[in-house]
Amino acid sequence: MASDSPSSPLIPPDTRRVVLGFQDAEDMKEDLEVPDLPTEPVPLNMGPSHPAMHGTVRMVLEVEGERISSADIQVGYLHRCFEKESEHATWTQIFPYTDRLNYISPMLNNVGYAMAVEKLLGITNEIPERAQFIRVIVGEVSRITDHLTCLGASAMELGAFTVFLYALKAREWLFELLEETCGARLTSSYLRIGGVSYDLPPGFDAKLRDILERTRVVISDIGKLLDRNRIFRDRMDGIGIITQADALAYGITGPVGRSTGLAYDVRKDHPYLVYDRFDFDVPVGSVGDNFDRYAVRVEEMYQSMRILDQALEKLPAGPVIVSDPRIALPPKTETYNSIEGMIAHFKIIMDGIHVPAGEAYQYTEAGNGELGYYIVSDGTGRPWKCRVRPPCFPATAVLGKVLPGLFIADVVPTFGMINMIGGECDR
């Protein structure tokens, strides 16, 4: 392997051309002019039991030689009846189900759901400020874990195992911090309607700052391993291009949508919680290929860290949940020592929070884009309908249009960069 030092004769000043392999393509021109051998279409099954399909999606490809001529993407292998179960659960009992939608950023799903119910209750403006800041903090930490998992897993599928270990190392630091906050790494169920379940643990501030410092180093190391890596770039550059028109028509948001140059970020365009108080940028791509999606995700992690720094700076003191006894559980000392506390506790647990009849659609920016909750209430303690609009569902749908024309080997990085999460896509 050629070393990276400037003295190496193998690396001319115009390194980009070498890294991207353009010069070699020139050399191979003669090979490319060999007429194609006759082929016939062959059906090829990828998944659901394929290491790069994350165990949950099946692609029925039709290939002619190495090229894909048509692709039928079949989802649903992880369908766990989220909606049907929700219709039989109280409003609070749905939180654990939302954890299991996008299970690499569960806090963001908690936030979206809590805000949807609060919209219907009409208490959006009454959420204590500290609770809103905590929601932003745990949400942005989750966004970083989401992107780290996506990048690490995709890089591993392309052979870069070191990147995977680095990314998971940093993810583990963040998960340990979340575990300290809410008691679980993935199945957090940390939020409650009206606030969060309990305050941040002592010393959270210093620990998070320290972890962010170390995570910055890890992300920069990942960049050093991948950004100019010939194998990585060859499989990412110009592969799996999604046009902006397709992103709009399919409803693709989040990093995948932004990679096409579509500067739509719910946090910026329709600020919720306290996002309007932070200074951050929305990175967009220009081509909409795999590398743009990778680059957008890397930059988003840095922007999330910027938000976290500011949020820790401004974090106010105060309560973390509304005081309304019809919405928030009473403190345990009240529950066990007073009849009022006991009754309030019993009513919320057995009967559920009574949400006024009506319908609301609440959208937030999750790891994969616009996560929407469309909820219908008939005025009882259980939802009439609790629909989640999964951001990676349309992004997976577009694969049927993007894959034809690519090589079989291109399926793996393209699918990886969509970041299809079975739990969220199939619900």
Partner: protein, 173 residues
């Protein structure tokens, strides 16, 4: 802010195409007739004052005898198909309802308007049994093809089990 969209719709569709419009919790909604579902959706996408170029969500609701927003009468249609669309350039959104009766649960497909409606309509068909006329490939998407019934209908019991048993032809099961 999206009141402007409702005003524009009301000005354009004066022949009873719009059954009702309203706003709840800051979400603007409109209800259209079944035969004008496709034309209202196309108008929403193409008109320069609405410009809903981004498809967001499509689902169905089983009203089961209850009145949905803007529904009138004693015999309301059983299902509502609910569409959410958004305008990236003008930053407004709208929810559009259409009532679909139980005896003929069908409505025009929106795939020609927004390509992304494809999978969402398959899901609504799969889980609620609403048929979308003109859909290119209306198959089940989340449930398996052999599944009987539509699980999100209110009359489908939550505890009902339908294990998928494949019997081998000539096998000794």
């Amino acid at each position: 802010m999206s009141q402007a969209v409702l005003d524009r719709l009301a000005a354009r569709f004066t022949g009873g195409e719009l059954v009702a419009t309203g706003s709840q919790h800051g979400d603007e909604w409109a209800r259209t007739r079944r035969d004008t579902w496709l034309s209202v959706a196309t108008f929403l996408r193409d008109d320069p004052t609405t410009k809903m170029e981004m498809f967001i969500d499509l689902t169905a609701v089983d009203r089961f005898g209850r009145l949905g927003p803007g529904m009138v009468g004693t015999d309301p249609p059983r299902f509502d198909v609910v569409l959410h669309v958004y305008s990236v350039s003008l930053k407004h959104r709208l929810r559009l309802y259409v009532g679909v009766p139980e005896e003929d649960p069908s409505v025009d497909s929106l795939v020609p308007v927004w390509a992304g409606a494809d999978w969402f309509e398959r899901e609504a068909y799969d889980l609620y049994g609403v048929r979308f006329k003109g859909h290119p490939d209306l198959r089940r998407i989340l449930m398996y093809p052999e599944f009987v019934g539509h699980p999100l209908r209110k009359d489908y019991p939550k505890e009902k089990r339908q294990p998928l048993v494949r019997r081998h032809v000539g096998g000794n099961d």
